[in-house]
Symmetry: C2
Subunit: 307 residues, 2 copies
Amino acid sequence: MGEKVIINEVGLRDGLQIQPKFVPTEGKLELCQALVDAGVRSFEATSFVSPKAIPQMADSAELYPQLPAKDKVYYSGLLFNEKGYERAMAAGVKSVAVALASTEKMNMANIRMTLDEAITNLGALITRAKKDGHDARAYVSTALGCPYEGDVPVKVVLDLAAKLAEAGADKIAIADTIGSAHPKLTKEVVSAVVKEFGADKIVVHFHDTRAMGLTNAWVALEEGVREFDTSIGGLGGCPFAPGAAGNLATEDLVFMLNESGYDTGIDVRGLRKAVAIAERLTGQQLGGRITQWWLSQEHKKAAEAAE
Amino acid sequence: MGEKVIINEVGLRDGLQIQPKFVPTEGKLELCQALVDAGVRSFEATSFVSPKAIPQMADSAELYPQLPAKDKVYYSGLLFNEKGYERAMAAGVKSVAVALASTEKMNMANIRMTLDEAITNLGALITRAKKDGHDARAYVSTALGCPYEGDVPVKVVLDLAAKLAEAGADKIAIADTIGSAHPKLTKEVVSAVVKEFGADKIVVHFHDTRAMGLTNAWVALEEGVREFDTSIGGLGGCPFAPGAAGNLATEDLVFMLNESGYDTGIDVRGLRKAVAIAERLTGQQLGGRITQWWLSQEHKKAAEAAE
């Protein structure tokens, strides 16, 4: 077997949250089960936030306890404040995720905090989670470009990551929230954080908005990173980041990694099934870029069988 | 300015040749002019082959002499035999391209020669072109996977490339004709040929069939390669290689390289115009993967202007 790579599926939260139509809890569970069946063992499962701000996540307290195969699957819950933390604990969450942006304007738009407030408040949540014996991961969003402020200096990303690591974060996730990263920038930022914190501590989160998602992922892999956020069918984006549509699709990255001999533990055929479920739940045509190739192969087989 | 990268535009030949509807010579010239205006300085312009086999290239003798800005633009003509060579010379061709596949079955399907015959015959054409004072480039097709024979050992690619280099080829182009390459394989093959022949002698040609075209290109760039075949709008494929649709789109690679600080000399806005011309000429919706992002940006601007 090849070297292990962790795929952290974010479709249930980051993917679904901008869907205008509420996806019922049983639908989310069906999608999650299909992904677990395909071999996915790490998820951002939901968020504990105001149902007014994000109606799609209003069922987090009901959803979380019902998530399948909890003994072998990692499920994080995203939250931004004490209230969210209490609700998450009540739902049985053992893995907490927090997220701050790299710039003042994006933090204001996304979580209505200044950058200093975000570091203090989210840092305190991480410390609390660790004290309570839980796992904690921290996202540095818009780390490779901000829709409001443009370029983000690498030093800013390193400083923010250091503060989150000091607060106790087990993993630091570097997120290209709006897909503005190009491979040269990715290499610069990822090599810097890997050098500072070690590759084991780093997760990367790319968007395919400008078609460079897979390339950026490969660049991060070459820098030693072995954990990637992806979203089934490319579901999602960020409701407060203009132009953020297009999470890197789980099936695209898994296919490339499997082909390249890495061990994701995930069967792409199972992912196809999950894409179909996500399409039914959202009423949208989904699918990463590899989907077209899958369809052409199936079409060819069907045509041959019909001859 | 950043480091120079050569984009060799193959849309006029590799791109158009499988188009069922004949594109008139003036249409090809219009597309070529738009690409030159955008800054493209290297083309595979046409092929000198049987008009029965490839009707789309029947006008090569008329087209070649009319190609724009010959003093500053490199235009190669693809050919496979003495007759093609004579026709190319009569048309004023100064840069000859030949192509053989890495496997017996693909050579038979594509040019009706055994691999030995292909090496002998095409090698002789290269030697003749060099004796005549011309430039010569040689393609090793299906170098990263064959539709008939599957995996191709790196040693086979190295041996073929060595024979073509011995015959006098100025450049060796390594082609992933069916888009079967994954980045790990690309790294293995490209690093081997770069080590053997030097990065300056190597050109790479990727397809985006399985969504890994840009990633493979980046991997080759990291190995030192500075010349890439691409096709405007992703036009093309190979008529005798099942599943070969999806040349890597010129605009996708140029955009990624420009963003990453490389000097392609090409303006992506000019490429948009060329894509539109190619769409009109072929009656097809074209466009690389970055096109969707361009469209979304333009839609946003138009919506803002309308407010």
